[in-house]
Every structure is written in structure tokens, then in C-alpha cells.
């Protein structure tokens, strides 16, 4: 009986602290998923024996025979794309950031780096599922993100530039502005679309989802305005 073994199977180590945070976040997400599934089951949805293709969550089916994935269609629409529990890239990037930060001399700057990314991430988050968009937009706003395997469109300067993050804010506003403008336009378009859909929507579930989309667009716009100030 032939067995294929990866190298990583032999190199298993206990999870590091960063990874423990990832595990913790994942566990919380699982709890949220379970709670949502329980609510839907009580509403009369059927629990199928299949799993969702994208995320592996168990599928539910409503009375109209429509399949529904709790995590894809509900949780992901209002959770940050760069949440390490969801996005493996974001998790990897956060872990690598910390590794590089602990190696570099400017460790105090890395503390700001950690504080920085989350706010700018929120600022440019748009409800689209592709991670490289966020990576690219965020990279445009914050130079020293070491590019992971995802190729970002507005490539930042070479990854050796890690240490100074906060000081060179002013020269980067020129890079920042058009990106923010684009993001704002995209969010406004989506807001308009959602409003139109909401006016003509007849289903309760769809209306609830559209309202949550509108509120997250509004939040995004607010954060974008804060950033541009």
C-alpha cells in the first residue's frame, strides 16, 4: 500500500501564538456559523447532507428548494475580507509581518504597522470576495506590505523597505487619493444598486441582506472619508 507523505507532515510543530490567534478566530467563526445554522433549522430549513463547495460548511435548503450556505451568503458579506480567520492570505501575511518585524531593528515601528493595517484595510474594504483586490488597494495605501504569493496591481516598493511606515504619509497621499476615489465610486455604485434592488425586492431574506449591504457600504464610505482627511 503506497502512501504519499508530504514533507510538512514530518515537520509538525505546535502552533505558534499567531497561529493560535488564527485558530481562536476560526473557532469563533465556527460558533457563529453553528448559531446561525441552528436559527435557520428552527425556522424550518432542511439540513442537507452536502457541503458547500467554496467553504465546506453544511448546506441548508429552504422551503423553495433553494440551497443556502450560511457562511458564504451571510457571514462573509459583512465580515472583513482581511480577517485572518477567513482569508488564508491575510493570515499568512499577518504572520509573516510579525516574523519580519521581529527580525527587523525597528520593532517599535512594527507595532504601528500592526495598528495601521487594520484601519486602512477597513477603509478600503469593498464587498468583493477576491483577496488580491484588497491586498492591492491596501498595498497602495501602505507601502511596506511584503507581497505574498498574490501579485498586487499597484506593486509597492521592494520589501526591504519595512521600517519606516508612519513618517512617509504625505508623499503617499498622492498615491492614496486616486485609489480612495476609485473605492468611493465603487462603493457608491454598489449603494445605488442595492437601493434600487431594495425598492423592488419582494422577499424578506433578500431585503434583510440588501439592508446589511447598504449599511456596510455606508460604513465603508465613512472610513474612506476618514482616510482622505
Amino acid at each position: 500500500m503506497s502512501v504519499k507523505l508530504d514533507d510538512e507532515d514530518f515537520e509538525w510543530e505546535p502552533p505558534t501564538e499567531a497561529e493560535m490567534k488564527v485558530i481562536q478566530a476560526r473557532r469563533e467563526r465556527q460558533d457563529k456559523i453553528s448559531k446561525l445554522m441552528g436559527d435557520y433549522l428552527l425556522k424550518g430549513y432542511k439540513m442537507l447532507g452536502d457541503c458547500c463547495d467554496t467553504c465546506g460548511t453544511i448546506l441548508l435548503q429552504d422551503r423553495q428548494q433553494k440551497n443556502y450556505c450560511v457562511s458564504c451568503q451571510e457571514l462573509d458579506s459583512d465580515v472583513d475580507k482581511d480577517n485572518p480567520a477567513l482569508n488564508a492570505q491575510a493570515a499568512l501575511s499577518q504572520v509573516r509581518e510579525r516574523q519580519l518585524a521581529s527580525q527587523s531593528p525597528a520593532s517599535s515601528q512594527s507595532a504601528e504597522l500592526n495598528g495601521g493595517p487594520s484601519s486602512s484595510h477597513i477603509g478600503v474594504s469593498v464587498p468583493q470576495p477576491r483577496p488580491e483586490h484588497c491586498e492591492g488597494a491596501a498595498a497602495g495605501g501602505r507601502a511596506p506590505l511584503p507581497p505574498p504569493a498574490v501579485p498586487s496591481t499597484s506593486a509597492p516598493p521592494p520589501p526591504t523597505v519595512l521600517a519606516p511606515t508612519r513618517p512617509p504619509v504625505c508623499p503617499q497621499t498622492t498615491v492614496l487619493q486616486p485609489v480612495l476615489q476609485e473605492a468611493e465610486d465603487a462603493v457608491l455604485t454598489k449603494l445605488r444598486w442595492a437601493t434600487n434592488q431594495l425598492q423592488s425586492s419582494a422577499s424578506l431574506e433578500a431585503s434583510i441582506q440588501l439592508c446589511s449591504l447598504i449599511s456596510s457600504c455606508a460604513n465603508s464610505l465613512r472610513s474612506l472619508k476618514e482616510l482622505s482627511q
Binding site: 460558533d31 453553528s34 441552528g38 432542511k46 439540513m47 447532507g49 457541503c51 465546506g56 460548511t57 453544511i58
Partner: protein, 567 residues
């Protein structure tokens, strides 16, 4: 492209049970809410019963169905604890998952980390079950029973505030709400007292009531529950088929028939042979060979039967089957009342009961509600039966436990290791033992398990298993006191304090009572369910239904029809 076979990941198991837990959680505990069930026909019903809620869910996922079946079976045996089952199950699964993720034994036989995790989890589950089957009852006898109270069968009176009444009252409180629990528990106590067989052990009469409960209760719609009462005699749930004639006075004689008085002449597929061989050639004889003669003969014999019954003074006829029209008309002529289609258990109760029977009339405002009350009564009886059922442990393990505790006192004299205190004289899990409700059992067992780990040091695998179980048990009281974590700590401190001081906690806590035996069965059932869940390796999907009514889930291997089509 061949669809890959789906391996069971631990995450799937967790997610399934997590969803069931979320369903059940909101109704858990004394302050839990009720679930409103509505049908498309407009019927509505409120329920807090875990089994009812879980069996009403639409579940196609095989793991979920398996878990619900385990819950159903446990409820059919003990009558209580369905929600606690799911809570404990979910908590155990999460801990096993964490333990397996921290330390999977990666070896050459597993081709992925997932498989290694699953194998570790399976191992842990097996160890847990082995530990529980081996030592749990002793732990309970030593660590829980001394702090509870043993209710004797003689305590079974219907006085308010008798311990048995308190036990039933707290059961009904969680099941039916606060407003009627005292009244209902009183009623049930009266009934159980009436049916006490003087010289039999309690489990005998309780088993009798449990088996015959459908015949011993009558649901009545349209009245509030407070109209329910006990009545003398047994109610036969059928109406008279002939006009009722009042008895003259004195005793009423009843005859029970299980078959047809007038046999049906011809059924489909039958052949009726008339006449006898001696008259073979003489077919034109006047008597005996035509069907008309046969039916006349049958009628005459029926008239003979009824004249016999009349001369015996019989006034009521109970029949298990539907009698023919001729029988009914003859009975009317003879002034004998006939009741048809009486169910078998009612008939057997009627014929075999030696004492004067009494039965319960349960009133409810609607059909669903009355049915719920009746189910609650039956489950209460099952719970009481489980409480008084004697469980015997093997004497060897119990004495081993005593030896250990004595050893620890003699060897570690300078230590502050607390001993079990009470020398356990009887190794039997005392029937009738109850502890205060509200998590006391879980706190006590958790403490006993932790003590056990510190005392026994040479069981190489059991410490891990007992640590897991000890931690998982605390999830139940944590959920009971979820509205206020401070109460959880207070309750834990109170129970542990009473353990240290060898005082009964139940004089201090003013909550209800719960049965130790039911809890023991619950823990065992949960561990068995966990083992079963981890024994599943793969789930293969089929497009056709194989087992619609599965009461035994022995084989959950289905065929992959897509694969067959491709090949």
C-alpha cells in the same frame, strides 16, 4: 471525472452537533424558552421537550440523524435529559477535537494530518468509553451518592413537599412550566401510590405502569389541565356498539372475546368444503350440503350462544374485533351491551389486573397540548422507573477503589489529599438516589474525577480521558447559569464546600431534585454516541433513498451511483 469519496472531517462532526446544540440551547434550563411548532394545516404547538424539538427538525444529514436517533433512544429509556445530552455531546466533541489537534500522532499509516486527527479522536473516544464502562459507576457511588439523598419507596405519598413529590415537581417544572407542576406531580404521586404492589420491589409496579400507561390514561380535550384527575376503574376507549342497558344492580358480568362470534363464511382465497364423505353420492339429501343450510346452522348456533350468555347473566361483551351485524342484533335482543375493537393492551390489562384499577384523566385545551401532557406523564414515569432501577456493579472494581483510597490515606499521611471519607459499603449504585438539581451532579462528578486522576497514577491512558470528561461535564452547569457567571461560581463553591465539610448540599440548596441514575445513563449514552460518531470513516452519497425508517443505523455505507455510471 470521478467524484472523490468524502472523508469525514472532525469539523463536519463538530458543525453538525454545533448546529443541533444551537437549536436546543435556547430552551435549555429552568428559564429556557419554548419552541412554537406550526404545521401547514394551521396546527400550532408549544414545546420545550428536547426530543420533540429535535425530531421535528428537517434533517437530511446522516450524522445529524444519527445523533437525533441516539437522543430519541435515550429518552425512550430514561424519559429525561435530551437537551443535556446534546450539550454534553457538543462539549465533549469540542474537547476531543482540541486534544486531537494539539497532539496528533503522525505515523506512516495516515496519509494526511486530517486522518491522523481523526484517528487520535477515535482513540480518545474509545478510551473514554472504556473508562466510563469500567469505573464511572464506582466513582459515582463514592463521589456523588454520599452527598445526595436516597429516597425510599415508602416515601411515596402524595403529601406536598415529600421528596418524591419534589423530584417529580422539578421534572415537570422543566417540562411544562411553573404554573401547574405541583398539581401534576401530586396527581402522578397519587397514581403511583395507588399502584404500589405491596410485596414487590418498586421497579416492578413502576414497570407495570410504564408498560400499561396507554391503557391507564384518557386524554380529554377542551378543559384546562387543572381539571385532570384520577378516577377509579379502567377506561375502555371505545363506545358501545349496541344500546346501553342499565345494569340491574349488583355486579356486572363481562365476557371478553378475542375472535369472531360468527365466523365469516368466505374470505378471499379460501375454499369452504361442505358436507361429509359418507354422503358423497347422496347430494340431494335434505340436510347438510348446501350453503344455505350451513349459514342457517351458524345462526342457530349463535342464538344458542346468546341464550347461554343470557342465562349466565352476562351484561357486557368486550370484543377485540368487529363483530358481524347478526351478533349485534342478537345482543340487542338479549339486552347485552357490546363494545367492539377494544385494543389488545386494554383487554390484557382488564383481564389480568388483580387489584382495583385506577386511571388518569388528562385534560388539555387542544389536541397537541393534551398529547404533550400525556407524554410528560409517561416520561416522568420512565424517569422514576430509571431512578429506582437497581444497577449492580462488579464488586471487584468497587473494592479496588476502596483499597486505593485507603492506600492513599496510609501512604500519604502527611499530605492534605482528601480521601473519599465514606467507606463504601455497598457497591451497588443505590436505587432511589437523588441530588439537588442545578448542576450539583456535574460539580460532584467533576470533583470526583479530578480526585481520581490525582490518586490513581498507573493508568496510562485514563487520566487523559477522565480529564476530558471532567472538563466537559462543567459545560452543563455553565449553561444553566449562563445568564450570570457569578452564580455558576457560587454554586460550584457551595457544592465543593459541602464536599470538604462532608455535609449534604441538599439541605442548603433550595432547588429541585434530580435522579442520579438518570444522569449516569446520560453520561454513558453520550459517550457511546461519541464513539459511534468517530467510528464513521467516510460518507458516500447516493441519489436514491435506501432506509426511510431507520431505527437501527448499523450500516451507513451507501453506493456512489455517479461512480458506477462512470465506470
Amino acid at each position: 471525472m470521478m467524484r472523490p469519496v468524502e472523508h469525514l472531517h472532525l469539523e463536519h462532526v463538530l458543525q453538525t452537533v454545533g448546529a443541533l446544540e444551537a437549536v436546543v440551547l435556547r430552551s435549555f434550563g429552568p428559564h429556557g424558552g419554548q419552541v412554537l411548532f406550526t404545521r401547514d394545516t394551521g396546527q400550532a404547538m408549544l414545546s420545550r421537550s428536547g426530543t420533540r424539538i429535535l425530531t421535528a427538525l428537517r434533517l437530511e444529514h446522516p450524522l445529524a440523524r444519527m445523533v437525533v436517533e441516539c437522543v430519541w433512544r435515550h429518552n425512550a429509556k430514561t424519559g429525561d435529559g435530551s437537551k443535556t445530552f446534546i450539550l454534553l455531546l457538543a462539549s465533549l466533541l469540542r474537547m476531543i477535537h482540541t486534544a486531537a489537534s494539539k497532539d496528533p500522532h503522525v505515523s506512516l499509516t495516515h496519509n494526511s494530518k486530517e486522518a491522523a486527527k481523526a484517528a487520535t479522536a477515535r482513540l480518545l473516544a474509545d478510551k473514554l468509553l472504556a473508562f466510563a464502562l469500567d469505573e464511572l459507576d464506582d466513582l459515582i457511588s463514592v463521589g456523588v451518592v454520599p452527598y445526595g439523598c436516597v429516597l425510599s419507596w415508602k416515601d411515596f405519598t402524595a403529601k406536598t413537599q415529600s421528596p418524591v413529590q419534589k423530584l417529580l415537581s422539578s421534572f415537570f417544572y422543566t417540562r411544562l412550566g411553573q404554573s401547574n407542576c405541583d398539581f401534576i406531580s401530586n396527581l402522578l404521586c397519587e397514581m403511583l401510590t395507588h399502584w404500589k404492589f405491596q410485596h414487590d420491589p418498586p421497579s416492578g409496579s413502576l414497570q407495570f405502569i410504564n408498560d400499561n400507561f396507554p391503557a391507564l390514561h384518557t386524554p380529554v380535550l377542551g378543559f384546562p389541565i387543572s381539571c385532570s384527575r384520577l378516577i377509579e376503574g379502567q377506561v375502555i376507549h371505545r363506545d358501545f356498539a349496541t344500546p346501553l342497558t342499565e345494569p340491574d344492580g349488583g355486579s356486572v358480568k363481562v365476557v371478553v372475546f378475542t375472535g369472531h362470534l360468527q365466523p365469516k363464511l368466505l374470505n378471499a382465497g379460501e375454499v369452504l368444503e361442505l358436507g361429509c364423505e359418507a354422503l358423497g353420492e347422496q347430494e340431494n339429501r335434505g340436510n347438510g350440503t348446501s350453503i344455505l343450510h350451513y349459514s342457517t346452522f351458524a345462526e342457530i348456533s349463535l342464538e344458542y350462544v346468546f341464550s347461554n350468555l343470557q342465562s349466565l347473566g352476562v351484561s357486557v361483551l368486550l370484543s377485540a374485533v368487529k363483530q358481524s351485524a347478526a351478533v349485534l342484533s342478537l345482543a340487542t335482543q338479549a339486552e347485552i351491551c357490546v363494545v367492539e375493537c377494544v385494543s389488545e393492551d386494554e383487554l390484557s390489562l382488564f383481564t389480568h389486573v388483580m387489584v382495583k384499577p385506577c386511571s388518569l384523566v388528562i385534560c388539555g385545551s387542544g389536541e397537541g397540548q393534551t398529547e404533550q401532557y400525556a407524554a410528560a406523564f409517561q416520561e416522568a414515569i420512565r424517569m422514576v422507573l430509571t431512578t429506582w432501577e437497581p444497577l449492580n456493579t462488579r464488586p471487584t472494581t468497587a473494592s479496588k477503589m476502596v483499597i486505593h483510597s485507603h492506600k492513599s490515606t496510609s501512604l500519604h499521611t502527611g499530605d492534605t489529599k482528601p480521601t473519599y471519607g465514606f467507606p463504601c459499603q455497598n457497591s451497588v449504585l443505590e436505587p432511589g438516589c437523588v441530588v439537588p438539581a442545578g448542576g450539583t451532579f456535574e460539580f460532584l462528578l467533576n470533583h470526583a474525577l479530578l480526585q481520581h486522576i490525582s490518586v490513581c497514577d498507573n493508568h496510562e491512558s485514563f487520566p487523559a480521558a477522565s480529564q476530558l470528561l471532567a472538563n466537559a461535564l462543567l459545560s452543563v452547569p455553565r449553561q444553566i447559569y449562563s445568564h450570570s457567571p457569578r452564580y455558576f461560581l457560587q454554586a460550584q463553591a457551595m457544592v465543593l464546600g459541602s464536599v470538604q465539610n462532608h455535609v449534604h448540599p441538599f439541605v442548603m440548596l433550595d432547588s429541585g431534585l434530580e435522579s442520579v441514575s438518570c444522569k449516569y445513563h446520560l453520561v454513558l449514552a453520550v459517550l457511546q454516541c461519541v464513539t459511534r460518531l468517530f467510528q464513521i470513516d467516510t460518507m458516500l452519497h447516493t441519489h436514491t433513498r435506501l432506509n426511510t425508517q431507520s431505527r437501527r443505523l448499523a450500516n451507513i455505507s451507501w453506493e456512489d451511483t455517479e461512480d458506477e455510471a462512470e465506470n
